[in-house]
Amino acid sequence: MKRYDLIIVGAGPSGLSAAVEAAKRGMRVIVFDENDKPGGQLFKQIHKFFGSKEHRAKIRGFRIGEDLLKEAAEFGVKVVLNATVIGIYPQKEVTVRIEGVVEHYKGDAIIAASGASENMVTFDGWTLPGVIGAGAAQTMMNIHGVKPGRKILMLGSGNVGLVVSFQLMQCGCEVAALVDAAPRVGGYGVHAAKVARTGVPFYLSHTIVKAEGEDHVTGVTIAEVDDKFQFIPGTEKHFEVDTICLAVGLSPMSQLLKMAGCEMEDNPRRGGQVPVCDEKGRTSVAGIFAAGDVSGIEEASSAMIEGRIAGIAAAEYLGYMDSGESEQAIKEQEEALEGLRQGMFAPQNRGKHIETTDEGIQISESLLKKGYIGDDEIERYPGVRHTVGIHPVMECTQNIPCNPCQDACPKGCISIGQNITSLPIAVEGTECVGCGMCVASCSGQAIFLVDEQIEEGYASVTMPYEFLPLPETGTKGKGLGRDGSPVCDAEVIKVQTAKAFDQTHLLTIKVPEDMAMKARFFTF
């Protein structure tokens, strides 16, 4: 039997992070992953991450994955791919299917970082080809380079549904509608807004009645639901789509821990069946730890920190660190984790309807119901100010843990302060030079540079643009409002591309003066 200090199940964000921390302390670590590529879901995440510097905010998920792999290699972590852990037995014996053989391994400690599986909902026709999970869509387009469909309806308005909808459009698919049975958008408002402004209609309090088609999906009917989630007759809407994408949540994949004898609990706030764990990821079985989605559904950024904590805790358990040393190392990680678990989307607020921000400003009802902030609502947020000349407009209206914009501005025009969930403030008396760093750094694509009068009767709006083809200077088209409807004629007057912008292009359009605070997207 092969013996290792630490066996880690899963080479995703938490598993790799745990491996790095343990290997750093001199442990012999082996990581098994059933997939043929490491990184878990990180390599499917092509958007910029939220958080602050320590959480690697404004860096795209797949690049964080690349860095994590490099770090793991540096510290000599052994990652075995196409290796499916099929059992954990007493004395920390692990069986792994590798090619045609079931191998036995023994670890002095085990970290389960096996992640989550997708939840599904049933409706008439849900087994038809063309009904897919959101994870499937991400895998097809971002890993295999194949479009999941031509015209797609998305069910689910959580961050996964919103982010995947945007990614579908980025790879050239059409998103016909975004639907959720809940009465309000579940994910970040900024994610919703960037989808809505391209013209995708949101149907909250709606769900799928039927997927149509003989051998595969050719259409879908949705209908409004009442507060008991029952269909309201006469509210049906039909869409011709070839694909229906389901993004209705995740469940921890914790069966291995149950088999290992860990005490389990069914905790709806953590997404289902999870091991009972302390803050270091220790389960009820000495030497078995859990980290990442398997111990409670959260974002990848939190999973990476949980992984680091479990790695350190495992090192302490086996005596590779003394407890003083590990306490200090864990404390630093816990502070970082605490930073991410703040704001209105924090785990403790799951399911709550929050009506005002920490600053006491009313949350946009339109944002929660239609995916965009109303033109009449935008002025009440502290990131929206009017000054002469070019200036940033931060349409960031919910308390989410994110602050790269504050660091991005070389002129101090944007302030978030100590609390990273505070709304960004346009600082009075500062002078914007129009460098665009804030626009490109905003993971939520919610910052615009506006010059309310570039010439008599005209204003300019600079926006983030992550689509192909990229328009050129002189391209004429339409300015779209926050709701995605055309509001004016517009002409591209500048296109900026820079390494520091990391694939986010900055598009500056010229629009009629009265559209300066309304035009937020460009189509041609």
Binding site: E34, N35, D36, I46, R60, F62, S117, E118, T127, L128, P129, G130, V131, I132, G133, G135, A136, A137, T139, M140, M141, N142, H144, G145, V146, K147, P148, R150, K151, Q170, C171, G172, E174, D215, H216, E466, F467, L468, L470, Q503
Partner: protein, 115 residues
């Protein structure tokens, strides 16, 4: 424009605004129900089929209902097909090889008319 273009639109993403041009393996020919199809070596069989517009991977045993890609990561087993004579092969995680014979699965066998 969208409708007509949609009809002939390639399912392959030629260039991605964030990922650029994704690396592909060597172009190879394989057989879907006896018909020659092009794909890239090493990509999942399911990706090659999707790019070729194939939606139905199998028909279920009890109800004879069509199934295709559902999870795309080897968990749900909906996309299984008969590959080189072996049934229940998860096409979403099985790398494509030159000359592979992929057949629509009917229950646990290759579909009759499928060669």
């Amino acid at each position: 424009m969208a409708a007509e273009w949609g009809m002939i639109m390639e399912m392959r993403i030629e260039e991605h605004p964030i990922l650029g041009v994704q690396e592909k393996g060597k172009e190879v020919i394989f057989f879907f129900n006896g018909q020659e199809i092009k794909g890239y070596e090493g990509e999942p069989i399911a990706a090659a089929l999707k790019a070729a517009g194939v939606m139905v991977h199998r028909y279920t045993k009890k109800e004879h209902r069509p199934r295709g890609i559902f999870c795309a990561i080897g968990r749900c087993t909906d996309c299984v097909m008969v590959v080189d004579g072996i049934p229940n092969v998860r096409t979403c995680v099985t790398p494509l090889k030159k000359g592979m014979r992929v057949q629509t699965q009917d229950g646990v066998e290759a579909m009759k008319q499928a060669e």
